[in-house]
Amino acid sequence: MHCLWCENEVEFSLTWKSLLIPSREKVLCSSCRGKLELLQGERCNMCSRVSMEKLCSDCKRWQSLTHPSSLQWNYSIYKYNYFMKELVAKWKYRGDYTLGVSFQSIFQEHFKVHFNHLRKSAIAVPIPLSHERLKERGFNQAQMLTEFLPIESCSPLERLHGEKQSKKTKKERITGGNPFKLKETIKKQVILVDDIYTTGATLHQAARLLIDSGCPAVYSYTLIRG
């Protein structure tokens, strides 16, 4: 195997951990894996942001804006560091679909730890792309991540075409109109899945829509906390 990023050979080393239960094949080499940074230490309970406070200032604002809160909480795995930015750019914008596979095992592992209690009762919903954007990119990264999860999923949301979220300012994102439309209502708990949580606007808006249509609770699971 060669590393999907740097194309060096992925070295294999057996340790006590992988003696009886061998580890699955890694698609990134250890030096590239080392450049990915996990979120660690004290975090905001709401949005997974690294923060000393139990509730970060952003989340306090979200709570004051939308009452009662639409999104229960968000969980993310990685920091959005320089290497991650490059990785995501190649994966998402330059269409390297397979690169997403490198997140498969960690996305599954963390799901088992943090969402296990929702495993039976919840359904996973990927944040959709608009038709135009999907055509442009060829695949939906949120859809890809959703498929890694061991639970049922469906796509009740539809996105209206507009400016890319990453091209908008924070204020525009938070105050902008809801870019989503609901195709069907869901009566189960929902885990929204997306690649990145930046300001949380997208996820909160999607959650709002689901809650308003009678969904009991909405959580979100994102790969990266921006």
Binding site: F12, S13, L14, T15, W16, K17, L19, P22, R24
Partner: protein, 762 residues
């Protein structure tokens, strides 16, 4: 397959275990595991299929250890023709080698004991007996001896593990005629030549260490030293292994490259071709081959620009060696070497996390001792917890001083003055080390002993050990600690099992013509011996150590017995007390019980005094209670004339059965016993005087009415014991007879009202 060779090696190991234990569940377990790994997408289809095929192959390929049936006629004179297929080992007393006979299609161990006058001809014979030579020889052909007592070394099994099922003893070298030699012989002759040269250059002590550490020949080291190394789990230093080979390669690299003699490329080729040659010169033990081939393969792969993980390298070498010699799997050296090497490879990242070199050493020593523990118990019956610390001291000393020095000594052996100086310095320092080790052994030797480490507990042990290491690796300290405690407790329970066992044991050891009984009370409340005989050496005019070393000591160790509460010595004949001296030197003996008539020699008295045991002269009719067991002295009540007649006659009870130990008393004393104790009734009788016709009169047997009779007697003894009359008397009275010459050791076990005699089966 890259990255998955270790799974193929596991496959081979699971087949080997299945074949050895003849337990198919082990194989089923492996198949379940590998399919689980495949099913959870951790293994691709090719390594899965390859591993299963490999396991099936080894299933067929690996030999079972079939022991040949003991033939009724134990020996026959036979003339054989065959090829010498091993090194020829010369020691002062004997020469041995393995002969492959084409007509029998068997490997045969050939031994010839050297007579003193043969010394002049040895040089002549050394040029004849060579690897690959075709020989014709005549000798006594036999199935090798198996063990006759629990814990005793089983020569038959030992040879079976080398694929040898027969033995031939050649009386005189003159009956051997040999011709030719094979290519490999050149290496052995070169080795002989080097060894001869070295033994002339250096003093005997240095030579012994050079032979052991450079040529893999420890025959010159003293038995005490080897034993000491085994007791302290240091034996790995005596085997040439990764440590030595690594040092040699490092040294060669340094010499050739740093001094600019060759390029790196050439040096790599030198190593690839040179190391196998060294492996042969170093005696070709499995550990040398493992280390050498691993380095050769690693260097070769690096040259080919292929990057294989170390686990693959070690696994490929493992499979290769197994295919070359299928019996190698049964060799202790092979098992230990691979187990340790594999463990260290697995622990690489765990060790890398440790900053201080001292703790790295500690961790290496710790994990190696842990992983070897079941094997240590199985082969050496003892484990010493402090050996982990001793290793930390001794391993660096060997790595930094002893091993480099012995190689330097080999290199400088042709240079007169320097060699003498190095010899002097080495002997000076190393003598100090040997003394220190002996002192440590005297002060701090508190081993855990048991020869009984059952298979299920070995599996449980390794399961816990792996779990412990996984938790340690994940830095889950608390859980790892709990697991470590579990591991320790488990080993302690196994060692302490006799103390929990409600079953009492009386063992009549088969020491040949002589008596030795070991009594273990239930819950190990007390341990007693009645007699500890030895064979007498007419040459040295004293009892030989062999019965103690080969039978009594291994048995006591196997049973985890470190101290004896009392030794009863029936009388002063060597076949009843010859091993007592050795026992006192080796183990703590609290009491020595003899009769009033026992004639104590000065030498004996000194030995007994030094051993700090209490000497009890038991009085006639005295009831002696030790650790809750009551011994009743029935005889001698006065001097009855001869040592034999003056034997202790002891009555005691085991599990409600009355036992009578009679030493070597004759019919006279038997009659006296009957007149003093007319109502004497016995369940188990130790038949007096090895079943001689001077004892065990019909009157006596009719009167005491035993159910079982124990006869301790040597096979083919020159006295014709046991006498036909005695056997006849016992048979007529319906007494069940157990005798060591035909039944081997006899063990009596009692628990509540359950009592059972068993004959030892090897």
């Amino acid at each position: 397959m890259k990255g998955y060779w270790h799974i193929a090696a596991f496959a081979a190991v699971s087949s080997a275990l299945t074949v050895y234990f003849n337990n198919y569940w082990l194989y089923v377990g492996f198949i379940c595991w590998i399919f689980y790994v495949y099913g959870s997408k951790r293994l691709r289809r090719f390594p899965l299929l390859a591993s299963i095929i490999i396991s099936l192959f080894f299933f067929e390929y690996l030999p079972t250890l079939s022991t040949p049936p003991q033939s009724s006629s134990p020996e026959e004179i036979l003339t054989l023709t065959g090829t010498i297929v091993s090194q020829v080992n010369w020691t002062e007393k004997k020469v041995d080698f393995v002969l492959h006979s084409d007509s029998l299609d068997q490997k045969i161990e050939t031994v010839s004991f050297l007579k003193e006058q043969a010394n002049d001809h040895i040089t002549h014979w050394k040029t004849k007996l060579r690897y690959g030579a075709v020989c014709e020889l005549t000798g006594r052909f036999a199935v090798p001896e198996s063990s006759r007592n629990p814990g005793q070394f089983n020569h038959q099994l030992f040879l079976a593990k080398k694929g040898i099922s027969y033995q031939i003893v050649v009386d005189s070298l003159d009956t051997i005629s040999c011709d030719g030699a094979s290519f490999m012989d050149r290496f052995y002759r070169f080795r002989d030549l080097l060894q001869g040269f070295i033994s002339q250059t250096y003093k005997k002590d240095s030579t012994a260490w050079i032979f052991a550490l450079v040529f893999g020949d420890d025959s010159m080291l003293s038995k005490t030293m080897i034993h000491l190394f085994q007791r302290w789990s240091l034996a790995h230093l005596l085997a040439i292994s990764g440590l030595h080979v690594g040092l040699i390669v490092g040294f060669v690299f340094f010499l050739l490259i740093k001094l600019g003699m060759t390029t790196k490329e050439k040096t790599q080729w030198i190593i690839i071709f040179g190391l196998p040659v060294y492996a042969i010169l170093a005696g070709g033990e499995p550990s040398v081959w493992r280390a050498s081939l691993m380095i050769c393969l690693a260097v070769g792969l690096a040259k080919a620009k292929l990057r294989y993980p170390l686990t693959d390298v070690i696994s490929i070498v493992f499979l290769f060696l197994l295919i070359v010699d299928k019996y190698i799997i049964y060799q202790v050296g092979f098992q230990m070497s691979f187990l340790v090497a594999f463990t260290l490879v697995l622990s690489k990242s765990w060790l890398a996390k440790t900053p201080s070199p001292f703790f790295v050493l500690l961790k290496i020593s710790f994990i190696c001792q842990l992983v070897l523990l079941p094997i240590q118990f199985l082969y050496f019956s003892t484990f010493h917890p402090l050996s982990i610390l001793i290793n930390i001291l001794v391993v660096p000393y060997f790595t930094l001083f002893v091993i480099p020095t012995v190689f330097i000594m080999v290199i400088f052996s042709p240079v007169p003055f320097i060699s003498t100086v190095i010899d002097f310095i080495f002997t000076f320092i190393h003598k100090g080390f040997e003394k220190l080790l002996i002192v440590i052994d005297q002060v701090a030797y508190f081993p855990w002993m048991t020869g009984n480490f059952p298979m299920w507990s070995a599996f449980l042990y390794y399961g816990l050990l792996i779990l412990f290491m996984v938790l340690e690796e994940k830095q889950k300290k608390t859980n790892a600690f709990i697991c470590g405690v579990g591991l320790t407790v488990m080993v302690m329970i196994i060692v302490a099992r006799p103390y929990f066992s409600p079953i009492g044991k009386v063992t009549m050891l088969d020491i040949g013509q002589g008596d030795a009984f070991v009594i273990e009370l239930p819950y190990r409340r007390g341990v007693f011996m009645i007699d500890a005989g030895a064979t007498y050496s007419f040459h040295d005019r004293k009892p030989t150590e062999s019965v103690y070393n080969n039978i009594i000591n291994p048995f006591l160790t196997y049973r985890g017995i470190q101290s004896v509460d009392a030794v009863f010595i029936s009388h002063e004949d060597v076949d009843h007390m010859g091993s007592v001296g050795y026992l006192l030197k080796d183990r703590s003996v609290k009491r020595i019980v003899v009769s009033d008539q026992y004639e104590l020699k000065m030498k004996e008295l000194n030995e007994w005094m030094q051993a700090k045991g209490e000497v009890i002269r038991i009085k006639p009719y005295q009831l002696l209670a030790i650790k809750g067991q009551t011994f009743h002295l029935l005889s001698p009540t006065r001097n009855l004339g001869t040592p034999n007649e003056n034997s202790l006659v002891i009555l005691t009870e085991f599990g409600g059965e009355r036992w009578l130990f009679t030493g070597d008393i004759g019919e006279n004393t038997e009659e006296k016993l009957l007149s003093s104790f007319p109502n004497l009734s016995i369940d188990v009788l130790k038949v007096a005087h090895h079943g001689s016709n001077t004892s065990t009169g019909a009157q006596f047997i009719k009167a005491i009415q035993p159910n079982d009779a124990l006869i301790s007697v040597g096979r083919h003894n020159m006295y014709g014991h046991p006498a036909e009359e005695v056997l006849q008397v016992l048979k007529e009275e319906g007494v069940r007879i157990f005798r060591t010459d035909t039944d081997r050791a006899i063990q009596y076990q009692y628990h509540g009202d359950k009592r059972v005699f068993t004959k030892y089966k090897p």
